[in-house]
């Protein structure tokens, strides 16, 4: 199934399993509506009704706060913002309230909330395009996941719902595989095998998408696919790349990355987000600190430039890390 279908399946299963689970967001349950901006909740309100698929007014800060307050009082909400960029509206609720509540209460209050966040540049312009995981990986108290396959999407969303801490689930718009009017140009639509039976993908566990011994490439969401394409090209030049998809950004599967770098001696981190102060920087710092003497070359980041995401397709292509840029970065290490 596609990622959108896998997410929907996860939500359905969790809502059936535990009646405290409910969805809250804009345009998620309206009859005849979209099922959320990217069709993920399509059809769910028919099964679960409008109290458990709760449509809200345009109030990102408010709905986030409502989700948090509901979680604090015993429900298990799956909130969503239609575009990750809107999360900035809700920053106080996420960073000051959800993330800090368990801590401030001396460990007596839990916030079992999930927030689903679509990210990625899709020709909609600067305020509907950002990949903003880095803002949230920086906040202690949150967990952050970023599934890039249907299998991981279902498994991780289920784990997130069962997690007793606030979890942000970042989803890439070009990976949903949504059909019909909500399909995206340039989408990858990875279709994957998703078992029918119950399974979870544990939070905090990465996966090696491709084995190799010459260089380690770490990516997230869409850039995992860029890394894999780059690895194909590089293999023809005799460079075997190991591609790691951490799947969870916080807590990061650091050991997997470190062990890989100790094996290969080279690291490239690929992110769709601007470079300065970004997600890749922290991974690079950790590797430089923990695996310095295994490095055979400097560490490279392939990121977007320090600009807001542009609109015109030619500029968007310039902005988003391409397979060619990943290949070039890897070559520069040899």
């Amino acid at each position: 199934m596609t990622i959108a279908e896998a997410l929907r399946q996860a939500i359905r299963e969790e809502m059936r399993r535990d009646e405290r689970v409910f969805c809250i967001g804009e345009d998620i349950g309206i009859e005849g509506g979209f099922g959320g901006a990217f069709t993920v909740t399509l059809g769910l309100s028919e099964e679960f009704g409008h109290e458990r698929i709760l449509d809200t007014p345009i109030s990102e800060e408010g709905l986030t706060g409502v989700a948090i307050g509901a979680a604090m009082a015993g429900l298990r909400p799956i909130a969503d913002v239609q575009y990750g960029d809107f999360l900035f509206n809700a920053m106080d609720q996420i960073a000051n309230q959800a993330a800090k509540m368990t801590y401030m209460s001396g460990g007596t209050v839990k916030v079992p909330m999930v927030m689903r966040v679509p990210v990625g540049a899709t020709r909609r312009g600067a305020q509907h395009a950002q990949s903003l995981e880095a803002f949230f990986t920086h906040i202690p108290g949150l967990k952050v996941v970023a599934p890039s396959t249907a299998y991981d999407a279902k498994g991780l969303l289920k784990s997130a719902v069962r997690e007793d801490n606030p979890v942000l689930v970042f989803e890439h718009k070009l990976l949903y595989g949504s059909k019909g009017p909500r399909s995206e140009q340039g989408a990858l639509s990875p279709i994957g095998e998703v078992p029918d039976e119950e399974y979870l993908v544990p939070i905090g566990q990465g996966t090696i998408r491709r084995q190799g011994h010459d260089v380690t490439i770490v990516g997230k969401l869409l850039t995992v696919y860029r890394a894999l394409e780059a690895a194909e090209q590089l293999a023809r030049e005799g460079i075997e790349a190991e591609v790691i998809d951490p799947r969870t950004l916080v807590p990061l599967d650091r050991d997997m990355i470190l062990n890989s770098v100790k094996k290969t001696g080279r690291l490239v981190v690929v992110e769709e987000d601007n470079q300065t102060g970004g997600w890749a920087a922290d991974i690079v710092a950790q590797v430089a600190e923990e695996a310095f003497f295994w490095l055979d070359a400097p560490i490279k980041r392939v990121s977007a430039p320090d600009t807001p995401p542009p609109f015109a397709p030619v500029m968007e292509q310039f902005y988003v890390p391409s397979t060619e840029r990943v290949v070039a970065a890897v070559r520069s290490l040899f």
Partner: protein
């Protein structure tokens, strides 16, 4: 004649506890024994007291950066609040919260929220959960007049009205948001009218008359418990102290302060009690002694309590499981 159901004596005791507690904190702060600034509730005791008198320990309460009064009225122990102010491990937040975040989930008060207006959506959310999961539990959200200009409050009120959530928004209008008077922040000073605009019934009460507060709160609580929807209470009151401890209050006139001093809710209630033969000077003095003894005990408890270990910093980032990823190296 006061309604015999109205727990006036209890409320007097509560208000006095709050008052003496805040005065004691101020004293301790000036002696340098409390490591942080404080936002004292002096003068507003009737609001917390009158509202909380209707709440059970299951009902949810969300407070603000000025939470001591709400906490004491809700039943958080003076000991645990005082220890928290001293930054001790025995504090209600284990030293992790401090003055602006006191609370105790065992009595239904979440850690107070120090971001103005941010507690409104949280309260709405908890009310949503209460409506789904319980018979008649409700949520109360205290806020100041200034909070009514925060977007979050408007979003929360709109959704609360939309979904008939059992939440009571209590706006303690003490005429100033920090140093900003109402007329410098509001073109329309009809605060209750804002709630009405969202479809929430709104009431304005004299926040220094605990009986009036009690009355209005009672109706709102009943509505909420019957799942009839949200209510907005504007309690007009006055802060008889500065915004925080570093506030010389030079933005208020002495005349104004004097005028409100004469409407101090505690002497008002005392007079009422004596008038109705519910109390005498002697019995009131006895209550005073009791309260002071409790406070002495609370201070002693706080002083004797152990400090947290520095590495306690690393705990409770998450509900369960290890602390932040890299925190182990800090041990």
């Amino acid at each position: 004649m006061p309604d015999s159901d109205v727990p006036l004596l209890d409320m007097y005791r509560t208000m006095l506890t709050i008052r003496r507690f805040e005065e004691r904190c101020n004293h301790l702060y000036l002696q340098g024994r409390i490591p942080s600034t404080l936002h004292l509730y002096i003068g507003q005791e009737a609001v917390a007291t009158g509202v909380c008198a209707h709440l059970g320990s299951d009902d949810y309460l969300y407070s603000t950066h000025r939470p001591h009064g709400h906490a004491l009225a809700k039943g958080v122990s003076p000991r645990s609040i005082m220890a928290e102010l001293f930054g001790k491990r025995t504090g209600c937040c284990q030293g992790k919260g401090g003055s602006m975040h006191v609370g105790d989930v065992n009595v239904g008060m979440f850690p107070a929220i120090a971001i103005v207006g941010a507690n409104a959506p949280l309260a709405a959310g908890s009310a949503l959960a209460a409506k789904r999961l319980t018979e008649d539990r409700l949520a109360v959200c205290f806020m100041g007049d200034g909070a009514l200009n925060e977007g979050a409050v408007h979003e929360a009120m709109n959704m609360s009205a939309l979904w008939d959530l059992p939440v009571i928004f209590v706006c303690e209008n003490n005429l100033y948001a920090a140093s900003t008077p109402l007329d410098r922040a509001f073109r329309s000073q009809d605060l209750a009218g804002r709630a009405l605009a969202y479809g929430i019934p709104a009431v304005v009460v004299d926040g220094n008359d605990v009986e009036a507060v009690y009355q209005a709160a009672g109706e709102a609580v009943t509505r909420a418990r019957r799942r009839e929807g949200s209510t907005f209470l504007e309690a007009q009151t006055y802060r008889l102290c500065g915004h925080s401890r570093s506030d010389p209050r030079t933005y208020r006139s002495p005349e104004e302060e004097e005028a409100w001093q004469s409407r101090d809710p505690i002497p008002r209630l005392a007079a009422r009690l004596k008038q109705s033969d519910l109390a005498s000077d002697k019995s009131l003095a006895a209550i005073e002694q009791d309260v002071l003894a409790i406070l002495d005990d609370a201070v002693a408890f706080a002083e004797e309590s152990p400090l947290p270990e520095p590495t306690d910093t690393l705990d409770h980032v998450y509900w369960s499981g290890p602390a932040g990823q890299n925190n182990e190296v800090w041990r």
